[in-house]
Symmetry: C2
Subunit: 345 residues, 2 copies
């Protein structure tokens, strides 16, 4: 990870020299909002650890999706199929609360509708296009009936800004946990992570991931577990890769958004979303299980008019997804019963 | 159509003799609720022609889906992919209101959650599984901001019963129109239609369709248009098949549910949903256009334990879908600007 960070810093330095239009503050932003036109807002619910996160693209972005987990909670993903009509989305709504949490999407629609942002049906009737996905955190805290509502989505949209994404126990990642291979008693806390890469030619690829996983979070740069299933005494990391051969592996869901300033079609972004799942494969073990909801949305704002190389954007997307996952584990803080990576020192 | 009706009556007579457990009243029901365990409820909004329809399966049903229109508004369809975890759904939520109308699903979830009906996450936390689809009717009436809400879904669920399905201008079909190939000024009213076939061996296959289409509704038994784009003077049917070669064809969405008492897997029901789309192809011209949301959910209650023939159920499903579409056009009543089939005599 250290080497990756150094490379990213080198790229950043180069970008500072080459991209005169960006401000110094924008350059320092290595999260999803590094992509101009993307705003991110969280709303964190205090009654139980849950919440929602909204990625706003008020000018619209071309989008694709790859739902590869086997237990997804999702809405408006069908319209993202490359053959289908709608070409632009205006927000992505992520939340906790499992299928109930999809309600937060409704508040995001209301926020956009008040601003008349959306697809214009019959030329004038506004229909905000807001694909959504939710992760399951109903077992965290004591009252599973407290879930993100439409109000959560509306407030997250209100809070959205171009500032660097706040990470850790916020928004859709508030109740996110990892390392559930040996049951919740040996799990750990994770949350929201975000990362971005700026290429010398101005290409930016960024990711935001709400990390909720049966599996462990592994730093691909070192191969070491950062957060995951703990040993029976709860004090150390057990390593799910070793556990897999000796015992049962259980469930949950990651939700991710990758964004780029490149110009890509829906078909190309579907491929980018597929390739971005490699970041899950590298940074989470095991990935894509029957209990996971693993969903990645890919957005392209199209600010770079030069033709984009899909494979290059996809490879970078996988990298920022892995980086974001590692950050989600590192930035999380503990909650009762679920220590965070920073506590296991 | 007349011959189909006669055949259906013959089947019905046979079934009366062979299925001693069914009551006479149930036998007379040739709508979706002919399948034991299926309840249907509508809530019709009076402020603008729109509403929602809920298909309740409180004991759970295996389900599949085929979203074949290019402009769908949908939720929780990803979990219906055969490879994915969840095997049973507890309701299907259909509505008007385009993407906004998906909110009605939230009320259906609340209704089921109050009864503790749903998938049991972590063994005990209830998550009602309610896939949903919405059709666009925002251009009907004067205020597109009146849309089905969560309350609509809750009330439709409360109203659900095993009585024969009420057809015409109700529920999700309240604002449904057809024959928009030459613009809304020459369109006609359609709505909800439902049909069922009872086979001598006890197999029941039934459909409910909310018919909202760019295309014309054609009776496959006669090849004649029942409702669709009208001539310039508005008094007769123009026949979109003829118009296609001479002019532009425009947009919208059908939502359908087919149900059977057979025992089928998710994979088999996905195939049944695919085959059921042939009913759209036969009874609507043109079908599956870029502006259509054409979505069919297929449900199996599994009451018949004998192995089911997927092709047979699928072929029957296509038939009842076509029948339901014809009924949707025949049962609709006119609203200002949109005459119904019964008015064109």
């Amino acid at each position: 990870m250290q080497s990756v960070r150094l490379i990213r810093r080198a790229i950043l330095t180069f970008a500072l020299l080459s991209a005169a239009l960006d401000t110094r503050a924008q350059q320092a932003n290595l999260t999803l909002t590094a992509v101009p036109g993307i705003k991110v807002g969280h709303h964190t619910i205090t009654e139980r650890p849950t919440g929602c996160t909204v990625i706003l693209v008020e000018a619209g972005a071309t989008a694709g999706v790859d739902v590869r987990g086997a237990a997804p909670a999702s809405a408006e993903t069908d319209l993202l199929k490359p053959v289908n009509l709608v070409q632009q989305v205006y927000a992505i709504s992520l939340s906790g609360g499992s299928a109930f949490g999809l309600d937060s999407r409704s508040g995001v629609m209301r926020y956009l509708d008040e601003k008349n942002i959306g697809f214009k049906a019959y030329g004038s009737i506004n229909v905000p296009i807001v694909p959504a996905a939710s992760l399951i955190d109903l077992n965290i805290g004591t009252n599973p009936r407290i879930r993100p509502t439409a109000e959560c989505g509306y407030r997250a949209a209100q809070a959205a800004s171009t500032a660097p994404v706040v990470e850790g126990n916020v928004g859709a990642g508030t109740g996110a946990t990892v390392g559930k291979s040996a049951g919740s008693g040996r799990a750990m806390k994770a949350g929201i992570g975000s990362a971005a890469i700026r290429m010398p030619d101005g290409l930016i690829v960024a990711a935001l991931v709400a990390v909720n996983a049966a599996g462990d979070v592994i730093d691909p740069a070192t191969g070491k577990v950062i957060a995951g299933v703990r040993t029976a005494d709860g004090r150390a990391l057990a390593d799910a890769r070793a556990l897999l051969t000796s015992g049962a592996i259980k469930q949950p869901a990651r939700l991710g958004v990758v964004a780029t300033n490149a110009t890509l079609t829906k078909t190309q972004l579907t491929k980018v979303a597929e390739m971005a799942h490699d970041g899950f494969a590298r940074a989470i073990f095991p990935s894509h299980t029957m209990g996971d909801g693993d969903t990645i949305f890919a957005l392209a704002t199209g600010a770079q008019s030069a033709p984009a190389d899909v494979s290059r954007v996809g490879a970078l997307a996988a990298q920022v997804v892995a980086d974001a996952i590692v950050r989600a584990a590192r930035q999380a803080t503990s909650i009762p019963g679920y220590p965070a990576a920073r506590d296991l020192k």
